[in-house]
């Protein structure tokens, strides 16, 4: 069996990973970049975090996100309305970008990771596994759910002096989604995922 070798993605130095034991992780000796980690439960962990994240996102999209109250006048907003409101204000480009970064891409990443990791867990190879893996690793860096959440916190402070703001269920659901998203990604390992895909083919 040929040696398991990997080039550091950051500085191209070669490493032999044959001695890497279960539960250990490897990083580059020259530039300290993270290389890979071996975790037998990783696929199951990603799949379960992704499932929970998707449930939370569904909740976050359905219920009121924030309520604004000033002098007896009220305005409740949901997450999708944030995007619709940009659209009606003649900013379709900004609406599309926001929709992509805070809803569509995060949801797609979680959904694709769920499907991919379920397939890898059950050791069955399907022809769609490769293009799916290809897509999902490119999409991850374009998810901005956590950035949006910080934006929400900043907005809350900005308007707290102006009026009364009530936090809705969706706010907490989206916060949970952000945490679960990060947890799913932290269990994901590009090198190990592709090794497994190759093993299955």
């Amino acid at each position: 069996m040929p040696a398991t070798r990997m080039a550091c993605p950051s500085c191209d130095l070669l490493f032999n990973l044959d001695t890497l034991q279960e539960g250990q992780s490897a990083s580059c000796t020259r530039c300290h970049a993270f290389l890979t980690t071996r975790n037998a439960n990783a696929f199951a962990n990603v799949a379960s975090f992704a499932t929970t994240a998707l449930v939370m996102l569904a909740v976050a999209c359905t219920f009121p996100f924030l309520e604004f109250n000033r002098a007896g006048f009220e305005n409740a907003t949901t997450l999708p309305q944030t995007i619709v409101q940009l659209w009606v204000n003649n900013m379709p480009g900004l609406a599309a970008l926001t929709a992509a970064f805070i809803l569509v891409i995060p949801a797609m990443v979680m959904l694709l990771l769920l499907v991919l990791n379920l397939a890898l867990m059950q050791n069955n190879y399907r022809t769609w596994v490769k293009p799916l893996a290809n897509w999902v690793f490119h999409l991850i860096s374009w998810s901005m759910a956590e950035v949006f959440f910080v934006g929400v916190l900043v907005s809350l402070v900005k308007i707290a002096k102006m009026a009364e703001v009530t936090i809705g269920i969706s706010f907490w659901a989206y916060a949970a989604f952000c945490i679960l998203f990060v947890m799913a990604i932290s269990q994901l390992d590009r090198f190990q995922s592709w090794q497994k895909i190759e093993h299955l083919t």
């Binding site: 070798r5 130095l13 070669l14 000033r70 409101q85 900004l94 893996a133 949006f148």
Partner: protein, 204 residues
């Protein structure tokens, strides 16, 4: 014995699935991506995107990012104007968040990426490890500049009481989103392995 790089052994790592193959392989046998030892024209592409981002940075800071219609009066605010307003109101932590995310991070990221590109053009001087860390930092903080754009999106959706107070988005929000996206693509397209090429004898 020190390890050698993939390039020195005539190997190339697939940029999608990290598989090691011979450099002259056309397509990755594992995932089908085109194999390159180093991203082709990485520096030129990064520089072109950096110039685009620099140009977009001008309207992003001079045009209004948000309009406020309050009791018949309309006022507009720019990114820096918003920071100044927050300082006047005494919200120092929020002013700091917005200032760091919207002014320091995008400007610092542009300067850092220009620096990385030019040091490679000028024969790769300076500490390789420090420049790698600088690159990792720019990659990490890149998307956080979108905070201000998202703040505008939330305020516009939430503060919408016709006749009393209405927030409307300004053109700078789109220009600013453009700055963030182009610098993110620029950082992604930059091949950081170039920093470590040709200088193996020098200690980092």
């Amino acid at each position: 014995m020190p390890n050698s790089t993939a390039l020195e052994e005539n190997l190339a790592a697939c940029h999608t699935c990290l598989k090691l193959v011979s450099v002259d392989t056309g397509q990755c046998p594992r995932c089908g991506s085109t194999i390159h030892s180093r991203s082709p024209n990485s520096l030129q592409r990064t520089l072109a995107l950096l110039i685009t981002a620099t140009l977009l940075y001008i309207p992003a800071n001079t045009l209004p990012i948000m309009y406020t219609d309050q009791l018949g009066r309309t006022s507009e605010s720019t990114i820096l104007g918003g920071v100044v307003l927050l300082l006047k109101l005494g919200s120092y932590p929020i002013a700091a968040v917005i200032f760091i995310a919207s002014v320091m991070v995008p400007l610092g990221k542009l300067l850092a990426m220009y620096y990385l590109c030019f040091t490679l053009q000028w024969g790769n001087p300076g500490s390789q490890r420090q420049r790698t860390q600088l690159y990792r930092l720019t990659e990490l903080v890149g998307k956080w500049s979108m905070v201000d754009v998202f703040v505008v999106a939330i305020l516009v959706a939430l503060v919408n009481l016709t006749g009393i107070i209405v927030f409307r988005p300004g053109a700078a929000a789109l220009a600013f989103a453009g700055v963030v996206i182009t610098t993110m693509i620029a950082a992604e397209g930059f091949d950081q392995r170039l920093i470590w090429d040709h200088r193996r004898t020098v200690q980092p």
